[in-house]
């Protein structure tokens, strides 16, 4: 069996487990938690398209997430449930529009400057939501009616919400998988590897990067839409830079350059949080859950330079006794 097939089988198994999970556990707490994690996984995937696949480190992803969430609440009105058919595209579209504007400007800068300009635009969106009455200010706003699709898809039901989120997660994963294997995706990989050479071979790279940025914004907006519908409530903290940071940590922890890394990272990050917050295990000390999470992250950097998806390779080489961890990329610079 080739490696590619093996990985595809793992991913398919993973999604099957998620599909069966409500019947394995059935508790409302677990279903709510896994729904939330799947939404974060979509959010992480949107960032992976930029950071892992195109080499553009965006530090303002929470803005697109938040705009998608706010759009879902503001557009749905107070008269009755809106249809998912138009509310979902409208929410993702609002986020994509903002991403198009931000991308067209910030792609003029590079490297750390790009990181900071995307942060600046996200902070602007944060303060606009935070300081103006448009979105209810710091208190946030409630969603009066969860959107529906006909009579059979009513997102009020936690199990339906769970399945819809899973459907969106699998859809996003599949969409990005196809996108990255297309000519467009190859161009993005080329830009990540060596943009100068891409320019040299006659690719005008700017439209490719802008398209990736906009698609990424739309997917983050989709995640935001789901989040708003699940909680029935939005507040400015959805646009906070902490969330952009957490998404970055998820994809780095999972392993950059792999779509499954983003999902692995989101699950690992959220489950670790859940683990260290658990009072059943840590008792009083659960209040200080950041400490454990921080230490695990530091250990992960020290021992898993290529993220959690590199773990099988590390174990395999340890078992083989060579002790040499194959690195995809040679370290830059030197001490």
């Amino acid at each position: 069996m080739t490696m590619v097939n093996q990985k595809a089988i793992f991913v398919a198994l993973f999604f099957l487990v998620l599909l069966a999970y409500p019947w394995l556990d059935g508790g409302s707490y677990g279903i709510d938690l896994v729904t939330k994690i799947m939404i974060y996984a979509i959010f992480a995937l949107s960032l992976e398209l930029l950071v892992g696949s195109t080499g553009l480190v965006c530090f303002g992803q929470a803005a697109f997430f938040g705009i998608g969430a706010y759009a879902a609440v503001l557009l749905s009105g107070e008269d009755g449930p809106a249809s998912i058919l138009w509310l979902l595209p409208a929410s993702a579209g609002a986020a994509a529009l903002y991403a198009l504007a931000v991308g067209s400007l910030s792609l003029r800068t590079k490297g750390v400057y790009f990181i900071m300009v995307t942060l600046a635009f996200a902070q602007m969106a944060y303060f606009i939501v935070h300081d103006t009455p448009l979105g209810g200010g710091t208190d946030g706003i409630y969603l009066y009616f969860r959107p529906i699709l006909g009579e059979w898809l009513v997102l009020d039901e936690p199990l339906v919400m769970y399945m819809f989120s899973l459907f969106c997660l699998v859809g996003t994963f599949g969409f990005l998988g196809v996108l990255l294997r297309s000519r467009f995706g190859r161009a993005l990989a080329g830009i990540k590897e060596n943009e100068q050479r891409m320019l040299g071979t006659g690719f005008v790279t700017y439209p490719y990067k802008l398209a990736a940025f906009t698609i990424s914004g739309a997917l983050a907006g989709l995640a935001g839409f789901l989040f708003a519908v699940k909680d029935g409530f939005v507040n400015p903290e959805l646009l906070n830079w902490h969330l952009s940071g957490a998404a970055l940590v998820m994809i780095i922890l999972g392993g950059l350059g792999h779509l499954r890394g983003a999902i692995t990272g989101a699950f690992a990050f959220m489950l670790l949080q859940e683990f260290f917050k658990s009072e059943a295990i840590f008792g009083e000390f659960a209040r200080h859950w950041h400490l454990g999470l921080g230490l695990v992250i530091i250990l992960a950097v020290a021992f898993l330079p290529s993220g959690l998806v590199g773990l099988p390779d590390v174990l395999r080489s340890r078992l083989a006794g060579s002790g040499v961890v194959p690195l995809k990329k040679l370290p830059e610079g030197g001490r």
Partner: protein
């Protein structure tokens, strides 16, 4: 706005800008020379502020107290801590990808915040202004300006002058500037780059902690104070141009004035102004105002 108010706000802006510079100068040097994106830099500021809060009663009890003594002991501790941190964590990051550095320093933020919570708790604490600095100077008929704020600005100015002297006029400064522009070259000239890194890192830690210590009586100490400073200092560093200490000074003062006057003149837009300024500047000059040495 009358002249007195304007003057007061100018002093506030200057003080804020200078404090920002102290934190940002370390950040820009650590990035410029070692190529490390240090997200935990805000925590160094936080550690300094909490040292000012936690050390003064201890020193009061053992050595009889004294504001300057507390500052000195805090600074010494900060240098020591910076040196140890570099040895234990950061020295492993130089060869790594930037994103790995982001991940590890994010982990360090979480650890520092929780250690703070374990040792000192999560309450907001005020820090006493020493008696001899607690007065205020009358300005005009109704307004006055606290002496302590003037003292903070003066202390910062002394440090800024000292920093520029070291940077531009001494052998150590020359090595640091050389390291920022080409680290392989200065290694091959026989300069111990590991030692240089450790010095710069410890100095950066100490500067940020010092800023925290002198700011503590003005701002009081509270959870999350490090993260607020971190983001604004990154803004300063990129506006100024990464690795450029002159740029950091200009940018810090600029942000100080924009933020202070924004809060007075346009209170509802004050939060956005700083980021708007940053976006405009970076779109106009994509590499910051000053190119690094």
């Amino acid at each position: 706005m009358d002249l007195t108010t304007f003057l007061i706000q100018c002093l506030n802006a200057l003080q804020y800008g200078l404090l920002l510079f102290l934190v940002a100068s370390g950040l820009t040097l650590i990035f410029g020379i070692m190529g490390v994106i240090n997200l935990a830099h805000g925590s160094f500021y936080m550690i300094g502020a909490y040292m000012a809060y936690a050390l003064s009663p201890v020193i009061e009890a053992t050595l009889g107290g004294g504001f300057f003594l507390t500052l000195l002991i805090g600074l010494a501790l900060a240098v020591l801590l910076g040196y140890l941190l570099e040895w234990a964590f950061y020295s492993y990051l130089y060869n790594r990808d930037h994103l790995q550095q982001v991940l590890m320093t994010y982990g360090l933020i979480l650890v520092f915040e929780e250690l703070r919570s374990l040792l000192v708790g999560d309450d907001v604490h005020g820090v006493q202004i020493p008696d001899f600095l607690s007065g205020s100077i009358p300005l005009g008929e109704v307004m006055s300006y606290p002496v302590y704020r003037l003292f903070v600005s003066a202390m910062c100015l002394v440090l800024v002058v000292g920093l520029f002297y070291i940077f531009n006029r001494t052998r150590l400064g020359m090595m640091i500037r050389a390291g920022a522009s080409n680290r392989e070259m200065i290694q091959s000239l026989g300069i111990d780059i590991n030692f240089l890194y450790r010095v710069v890192f410890a100095a950066g830690f100490a500067l940020a902690a010092f800023a925290g210590m002198v700011a503590a009586p003005v701002s009081s100490v509270y959870p999350g104070m490090g993260n607020e400073v971190l983001i604004i200092c990154f803004v300063v560093v990129v506006i100024g141009g990464i690795g450029s200490i002159q740029g950091a000074l200009v940018a810090a003062l600029l942000i100080g004035f924009i933020d202070t006057f924004g809060k007075v003149l346009l209170p509802e837009a004050a939060g956005v102004l700083v980021y708007l300024a940053m976006a405009v500047i970076l779109l106009w000059k994509p590499n910051g105002l000053f190119k690094a040495a």
